[in-house]
Symmetry: C2
């Protein structure tokens, strides 16, 4: 494609995106299609000869869009709602054009240093003390794996040298994200050695239970080495008591990892700094700007206060081969598994500059206040119960009725195409989740969501 | 940013990219900066208030660009040269705007099914038989980890259930990429259990040596479980004999992983299908379109013929909880570590359609023929030696002189800013690598590269 062709189709794509971002509410959030529908519409083999851009963009609009779930719709309230922000879109286009690989400082000085700078800005915005070393990974799941690899390097360096590995055990709350368990299994920790610690009535890990299980495991000759606390669980946005967990971790020699993929961003607003209370006792921390800091996927920040341990876990060069280059420039490849590292810092930089700290804080404040508003409406309505405290921007609720009625209500809302909620099972009961977090969401969107929920409740058959 | 603002700045960004892609040869490939230079120019803290897009784009041009290594320059011949193609740039902008997360079929039917379709197209283009299940990961390093996790699931399922893990051993050639060893360490395999198998004069793994080491390890009570063959090593683009290695793997019960991150793409042209000869004996395969298939980073395809084993390695749900949904729709989260999965298939689809199989094959043919041309010039010149057979698009050479002279020549070429080469150490000697692979590279670019190399040779002080 020559420059003129790129210019022409580039402008067409930009105009389409401008319209899409402005009119995304016109799309059904969940498309009306069945598995295989798109496959059937696409050729069974790729083309022998190249095709014109017109045909490709026509099929993008005619085939891909109708099969898309619109995560960027301001009433997408499932899982956690995220944002493909306009700033982020422009940054991603630029990053793709530069196409730099930030494995070494030399291979991408701009990528390497902008990553250092933006992550230090973010550290300050989160209220973290100096001393946290950060890098950007694709997901919090991969971040959890990096935390675990570093923790093992600290706890059992002999295993790497071929000694019989210690029987390591991992701790996280019953409500922790499955990525912790998945990271453990991937790292070669026995799945049966991942302990799910009970939670209190507000779904927060009970430190005394953690301590009890650690002591039992240690007495049985196992080696407790890793505990994950969550600041904003996926299930109910509960916040584990990081400080007390950190004290126990310190007492028994465990690495404390804080999974704040969703909740961490709230700390940008001073009044929500409590989500990271106690984080100074942690060894690693994940905060994902792709979740609630309005950057497009993928962008998950991994911080650690044990930079040297992380490096030991991921550098293959023996110590005596190290040069002093690391003190002059960071080579991020020495701190992570992926060698290829695309220029993800660019979109974070665009976003942080375009919104400023106050702009981010205002969005977060709005989201939390609207979530609390929605929860209040539900309580006042009388037909709904709120099943977990609404501390951030997630409302977990039930219609006061059977699981079957809740499932029907849930399906009716999602079938409208106008609002998307997700679900969970909590204490054996079906629970509906409404997550607010898209940068374009307005109070009116939340009111529409509430109206759809009420309409769905009204259309339920009599309680049976 | 509202629609009009996005349109305005979007058009500006597209125009800038159009000029950049057309004029990238005007940039120095390696910027003239020292570590910390960019950090010093950026504020120590992020802004409190949001800033206008004008300021951000001005700083992108004024601060980020001068600190950038230009991987998209057609004479970037270091590592492996890659391409931020125009088609890929447009697809990345669209993917960021849709911002869908392809963890489940429902969460992204278009993302899920387009990934299935493009990877089946690619399978056919590579000449692979049906039966390979593919998914897109960010890098070949993460692909190697997935291969190893699946291989362990096959070899030692008891470890996951808390039984004492078997003393697993891994095999790869001396020339294999460090990502294999890194994946092993990350997966919890002892680093001392990663065997580097000797290579022949053409840097290909010697199957008899592999067998000898496997037998020795097995006799010592270790459990050989994983062997990686490379089709296009990073060091010299050598191609391990996959078929003979696969026979040994089958005989001793090892998982065979083929790392064809770079070389695999060559198989799109029939005359280079030999790079994957014997791949039908493999259990998993990585081919990275971000390397030599002209998609922007990141896009690395992981294929396996053992789909069920991969799923067992990465699904947490116990078998008795499985529904038959998997037979109706793929939920990619069940097959990999990352939960968040951005819409990477879109750029691969754009690229495959825009170029067609013949378009891709023609680029690859050109690159290989130009690499062979360059090697011929060097041989005829007499002052250079070619240190490894040029089968694909990488030329590894030395100036016939001391290591010091080679280092000087290398530095002179890279300091020109006009050509970028990388280096390696082979059999204890400093070796220079020239990798051809950017879609915009022309024969003239290769001629310029050759001229710069000769000029650098001529400027060397007399041999000492």
């Amino acid at each position: 494609m020559d420059a003129e062709e790129f210019r022409r189709f580039g402008h067409e794509v930009i105009d389409w995106i401008a319209d899409y971002l402005a009119n995304v509410r016109d799309y059904r959030i969940l498309p009306k299609i069945a598995p295989g529908d798109l496959v059937k519409k696409l050729p069974a083999s790729g083309p022998e000869q190249g095709e014109p851009m017109e045909a490709i963009l026509r099929d993008f609009r005619g085939l891909i869009l109708p099969a898309s779930t619109h995560w960027n719709h301001p009433r997408f309230c499932g899982y956690f709602s995220i944002t493909g922000s306009a700033e982020g879109v422009l940054a991603e286009a630029l990053a793709a054009a530069l196409n730099m690989n930030g494995m070494l400082w030399q291979s991408s000085p701009a990528g390497t240093e902008l990553e250092q700078v933006t992550l230090d800005w973010l550290r300050q915005w989160l209220g973290l003390k100096p001393g946290w070393f950060g890098l950007i990974l694709d997901t919090a799941s991969v971040g959890a794996l990096h935390a675990m690899a570093a923790a093992r390097e600290a706890a059992d360096p002999g295993a790497r040298a071929g000694q019989t590995p210690l029987p390591l055990t991992v701790y996280a709350s019953e409500q922790a994200h499955s990525s912790i368990e998945k990271a453990a299994v991937t790292a070669g920790i026995a799945q049966t050695h991942v302990r799910k610690i009970p939670v209190d009535a507000e779904f927060q890990m009970i430190p005394e239970e953690l301590e009890r299980v650690i002591e039992r495991d240690a007495a049985e000759g196992l080696r407790p080495f890793f505990v994950a606390a969550t600041a904003g669980t996926t299930s109910v946005a509960s916040i584990d008591p990081i400080g007390p967990i950190g004290e126990i971790a310190a007492r028994y020699g465990l690495w404390l990892h804080v999974d704040a993929a969703y909740g961490g961003s709230a700390a940008v607003a001073e009044e929500f700094r409590f989500v990271l209370d106690g984080v100074e006792t942690a060894h690693s921390l994940v905060v994902s700007p792709q979740k609630w800091l309005f950057t497009p996927m993928d962008c998950s920040v991994f911080y650690t206060r044990r930079r040297e341990v992380l490096r030991r876990a991921f550098t293959l060069a023996p110590e005596y081969l190290r040069t002093d280059e690391d003190s002059r420039a960071v080579n991020f490849m020495d701190y992570c598994l992926p060698l290829g590292r695309r220029f993800r810092a660019l979109k974070l930089w665009f976003l942080m500059r375009r919104l400023g700290r106050e702009g981010v804080a205002e969005l977060i404040r709005n989201h939390v206040s609207w979530a609390k508003w929605l929860a209040r409406q539900m309580k006042e309505d009388g037909r709904f119960e709120i099943v977990a405290p609404v501390r951030l921007s997630l409302v977990c609720f039930r219609y006061r009725g059977s699981d079957e009625q809740n499932r029907r209500l849930f399906k009716a809302v999602n079938d409208s195409g106008d609002v998307f909620l997700s679900h969970n099972v909590l204490n054996g009961r079906f629970v509906i989740r409404c997550a607010i977090g898209n940068a374009k969401t307005t109070k009116e969107d939340v009111e529409t969501t509430w109206r759809r929920i009420r309409e769905a409740a009204e259309s339920l058959p009599a309680r049976g």
